[in-house]
Amino acid sequence: MVVNAFDICLCLTLAWLAWQVLRSHDLFKAVVLFISFGMLMALSWVRLQAPDLALAEAAIGSGLTGALFLSALQRVTGNKRGERRLDRNEERHDKRA
């Protein structure tokens, strides 16, 4: 019963995270959400009794991929000085969407 609730909770969070990654306006937010997504994937590998995968995903999904995406984000948006956007505006965009 409890295990079932755990599974359902985990899966709902995973799907919701994936949806938010795709629809959030700010790319940085999408990347942070994707890092959390990788961490939750490691939990689901544990639940599916695949500890090998959980080890690999814990190393890759939470550490390496996050570093890769954050570094690429800096290269893509980092030196556009004029396009700095405050987060309040972005919040408004999200509400409207």
């Binding site: 409890v2 295990v3 609730a5 755990f6 909770c9 985990l10 969070t13 919701w16 995270l17 938010q20 959030s24 940085f28 937010k29 942070v32 959400l33 890092i35 959390s36 961490m39 939750l40 490691a42 939990l43 544990v46 639940r47 009794q49 500890p51 959980a54 080890l55 814990a58 190393a59 939470s62 550490g63 390496l64 996050g66 570093a67 954050l70 570094s71 984000l73 800096q74 948006t77 980092g78 700095r84 405050l86 987060d87 309040r88 919040e91």
Partner: protein
């Protein structure tokens, strides 16, 4: 299977899901990253509880790897994505 540990893990998972809201609406980039780090810390706790709950001691190794590598994305954030400058008022103006 130990129901007590698994239900504790479920409570932690729910608290992680509540922390998601901070990622979604956190006003600054640093807030979002710290919420993701909360995910990492809570994830270690959930893994340890699941290791006891299902009597799978190998999951403790997973928690070890998780704890070691979750810091990496924060370091990447600090070094690459967070070029905050100190404004004249002394507050660290947060922009990416």
């Amino acid at each position: 299977m130990n129901t007590f540990y698994v239900s504790l893990a479920l409570i932690l998972l729910l608290s992680v899901a509540a922390g998601l809201l901070r990622i979604l609406r956190g006003p600054t980039a640093a807030d979002r990253m710290m919420a993701a780090q909360l995910f990492g810390t809570c994830g270690v706790a959930i893994l340890l509880l699941l290791a006891r709950g299902f009597d799978a001691l190998i999951v403790e190794d997973v928690a070890l790897v998780f704890a070691l590598l979750a810091a990496l994305s924060t370091v990447a954030f600090v070094r690459r994505a967070w070029t905050g400058k100190i404004t004249p008022k002394g507050r660290r103006h947060d922009h990416r």
